[in-house]
């Protein structure tokens, strides 16, 4: 049975735009939180000299990731600053000396087995670059590699506008091919499957050139690239509630993530820059830009010729799951794959009217959830009902809110429902003890 999905506009305007590397601005802002997990800890103090690739944040614990400077210069400040998600996080501010001197310590890592491969991935600072930011080393650290039946390379890129993964597949095919080799060599992966939406025929053709992999052309429907959806659509496997893909014998890696790992293994230069799609109705010259991590969003837009109209909303990521930012001084992080600036007309939300109980939300939810029932359970504070509705499984893909004719902010409601259910389950667990 096929999972439900929605057809959304593709708007892949920049798919033919080869990424252009921008110069780093004078001041760069490196956040301690550029991944899922514990905030990283600073390893430099104010006044320290840094170079390109110098470690500035070390990983704090197992689920965390180190951060490296993308420029050479001096540490100017270390302070809490506003981030894209609206929270304040510790940031290291580096004043760029314009020299881009490479750190002397950079050299290709020595890898001879599975363990040393995983530690190299850890040291590379690479996290899930599709947008989730889960540390890649943690994902690959499955202890027993014989558990891996399939590795899926995610090239679906189902969000509108974004073409940074498309460009990776076209321009960095050799990195991806080398990454595939690494996976085969150190993870013993026999079954590597590329999942790519069929609106990217050039990418499909390019990836088919890689030896010993299977390339699956998937329908261009949203949310094809969501982990559970992609695993189901490529392997037919269902990832059960509370389980990880590896529990079903699967690892999913985004194609750009794989390229970043491969590039680190080749050169030893950690993740310090990121290809970002800049697009949207307010942007003067939409393009793909290779941005030094830490660059403020405003500088990236300036590089794209500024705005042709005053932006009413700026989205960090895709329009379906990205976050809208309040301040254009927030920096580009590892996971940033797109910056979308919308004009007044595109940003103005559909007027919210009464729910007409048409059922489009539940009939388009990929997982068959019932958002309207969540709202009712939330209103009545009936968490037993909420448990049976499995609100916790909502991945916030936004299909329900997209199709809602009444313009109800369903994802917002779902988030509240999930939070209420999580609090209830936590309390229930504590009471049991």
């Amino acid at each position: 049975m096929a999972l439900k999905s929605v057809k959304i506009p593709h708007r892949k305007n920049t798919k033919d735009a080869k990424p252009i590397r921008m110069d780093a601005p004078q001041l760069l802002y490196f956040s301690a939180v550029q991944h899922i997990g514990a905030p990283a800890k600073p390893t430099v103090k104010i006044g320290d000299e840094v170079k390109v690739g110098t470690l500035i944040f070390e990983a704090a614990g197992a689920i965390s990731s180190p951060v490296y400077s993308s420029v050479s210069g001096k540490v100017k400040k270390i302070e809490d600053m506003l981030q894209s998600n609206g929270t304040y996080q510790q940031c290291i501010v580096i004043e760029n000396d314009g020299q881009m001197t490479l750190d002397e310590s950079i050299k290709a890592p020595e890898i001879n087995d599975y363990e040393s491969f995983v530690s190299a991935v850890f040291a590379s600072g690479v996290v899930g670059l599709g947008g989730a930011g889960f540390p890649t080393a943690v994902k690959l650290d499955v202890k027993d590699v014989s558990r891996i039946e399939q590795i899926i390379i995610n090239g679906a890129e189902c969000e509108p506008y974004i073409t940074s993964d498309t460009r990776t597949m076209l321009d960095r095919a050799d990195d991806i091919a080398f990454g595939v080799e690494l996976l085969k060599k150190y993870l013993g992966a026999k079954n590597i499957i590329f999942g790519i939406e069929n609106n990217k025929s050039e990418c499909i053709a390019e990836m088919k050139k890689i030896a010993g992999v299977e390339v699956k052309a998937l329908p261009s429907i949203y949310p094809q690239g969501a982990e559970k959806v992609l695993v189901y659509n490529t392997t037919g496997k269902v990832i059960e509630e509370g389980k990880l893909p590896i529990d079903a014998g699967v690892i999913v890696i985004n194609c750009t993530t794989l390229a970043a790992v491969a590039s680190y293994v080749k050169t030893g230069l950690p993740l310090v820059e990121k290809c970002v799609t800049v697009d949207g109705s307010a942007v003067n010259e939409p393009k793909n830009v290779i941005v030094p991590i830490g660059t403020p969003v405003s500088a990236v837009f300036e590089f794209c010729g500024g705005f042709k109209e005053e932006p009413a909303k700026v989205i960090y990521g895709g329009p379906m799951m990205g976050v809208s930012i309040a301040d254009m001084n927030v920096p580009v992080t590892k996971q940033t794959n797109a910056l979308i600036a919308l004009n007044e007309q595109d940003a103005t939300p559909k007027k919210t009217t009464s729910c007409i109980r048409c059922g489009r939300c539940t009939n388009t939810c990929p997982f068959g959830l019932a958002p309207v029932a969540f709202a009712k359970a939330l209103e009545q504070n009936d968490m037993e009902a909420m448990k049976h509705l499995h609100a916790n499984l909502c991945m916030e893909c936004g299909c329900c809110a997209y199709v809602c004719p009444a313009g109800i902010p369903l994802v917002q409601q779902n988030k509240m429902a999930k939070a209420a259910l999580a609090a209830y389950l936590k309390k229930e667990k504590e009471e049991k003890k």
């Binding site: 999972l3 929605v6 506009p9 609206g86 559970k228 269902v238 059960e240 509630e241 509370g242 005053e310 932006p311 909303k313 700026v314 989205i315 329009p319 379906m320 799951m321 990205g322 809208s324 930012i325 309040a326 301040d327 940003a347 939300p349 559909k350 007027k351 009217t353 009464s354 729910c355 007409i356 109980r357 048409c358 059922g359 539940t362 009939n363 939810c365 997982f367 068959g368 959830l369 019932a370 029932a373 448990k387 049976h388 916790n392 499984l393 916030e396 936004g398 809110a401 997209y402 199709v403 809602c404 004719p405 009444a406 313009g407 902010p409 994802v411 917002q412 988030k415 389950l425 229930e428």
Partner: protein, 320 residues
């Protein structure tokens, strides 16, 4: 920067579909039946329909104004309700009775429960039943246009009920709508065209109408010992097509999932059969839909989608 940036939870793009566009599609889908009604019953059919629409819209506007609620008449749902109620009345209905029916549909059945999306019963159906009980004389005063004159006549259903099969019109007339009955219900052809339009526009799903009509057809076949003619007369007469396509597919009073719609459609069909074949009334479609409207919340609960990857919940415990 001159202005502040807009902040909201994702998604940041939405489909262009609105409630108003959906209702407009329903109105468009009802136009063939409206044209057929004018053709078979004369200009008064149009007058009655427009009158019901007008009263419905004004009633909703005034009620919302009085209650200081948001004025929602712009969503066109009152137009649909008025149109459907008009279709459920005989062409000879006195306008003051039509006015009472419209006000009842909008205020008592819909607005008192909270307006669009909150009513548990279909406004037009409930108003038709109310009128049938209150004005049983005029509500069953079936008349047809013959030449330029309206003449009284029985509906095919009444004739079927009495076993007067010789008085039945031809199946072709039944299909086209050249028969006695409520003004918008007689032309199966026009209603089916509207239904196909709604399915093609994804406003409704096929499940309810198909299951409803199929249940009545199969049930009639079994009842009559496989008399195909009898079964065809059953599905082409009365308010079945109008009810199955336009009223049993109303969003707020029917289940949302395909499985729920199948259950709802079959349920409507069974109740219709029971009333038509064994009851004292010749017609049972409106009662069937109303009864199923009442059952809908339970059907909704029992026919939710299977949740992808969900674990069974042990009673009283957390997800195991």
């Amino acid at each position: 920067m001159a202005r502040k940036l807009m902040i909201s939870v994702s998604p940041h793009i939405k489909s262009p579909l609105t409630t108003q566009k959906i209702m407009l599609d329903v109105i468009i889908a009802l136009i063939p039946a409206l044209i057929a009604s004018v053709y078979f019953f004369g200009l008064r059919a149009l007058i009655v329909t427009l009158f019901c629409i007008g009263v419905s819209v004004v009633a909703q506007y005034l009620f919302e104004l009085l209650c200081k609620r948001d004025i929602e008449v712009g969503d066109l749902s009152a137009v649909v309700t008025g149109m459907l109620l008009g279709f459920n009345l005989p062409v000879t209905i006195p306008l003051w009775q039509a006015a009472i029916g419209s006000v009842f549909a909008i205020i008592v059945v819909k607005e008192l429960f909270g307006g669009i999306g909150h009513n548990f019963a279909n406004p037009a159906i409930t108003a038709r039943i109310m009128m049938l009980l209150s004005f049983s004389g005029t509500m069953t005063n079936w008349a047809r246009l013959e030449g330029a004159e309206l003449v009284a006549g029985a509906t095919p259903l009444a004739a079927l009920k009495e076993g007067a099969t010789k008085e039945l019109p031809s199946l072709l007339d039944m299909f086209l709508g050249n028969i006695g009955g409520s003004l918008g219900e007689t032309s199966a052809l026009a209603l089916i065209i509207g239904g196909i339009y709604l399915v093609a526009r994804r406003v409704i799903k096929w499940h309810t109408p198909v299951c409803f009509v199929a249940t009545v057809f199969v049930g009639s076949l079994l009842y009559s010992g496989f008399d195909v003619n009898f079964a065809l007369y059953q599905i082409l007469s009365g308010g079945l097509m109008l009810g199955a396509i336009f009223m049993a597919t109303d969003y707020s009073t029917t289940p949302p999932t395909p499985l729920g719609k199948v259950v709802f459609g079959i349920g409507c069909g069974l109740i219709t059969l029971v009333i038509r074949l064994w009851g004292t009334n010749p017609e049972g479609v409106s009662y069937a839909i109303l009864l199923m409207n009442i059952l809908a919340p339970y059907i909704v609960k029992l026919t939710r989608h299977k949740i992808f990857g969900a674990k069974k919940i042990t009673k009283g415990g957390a997800a195991a």
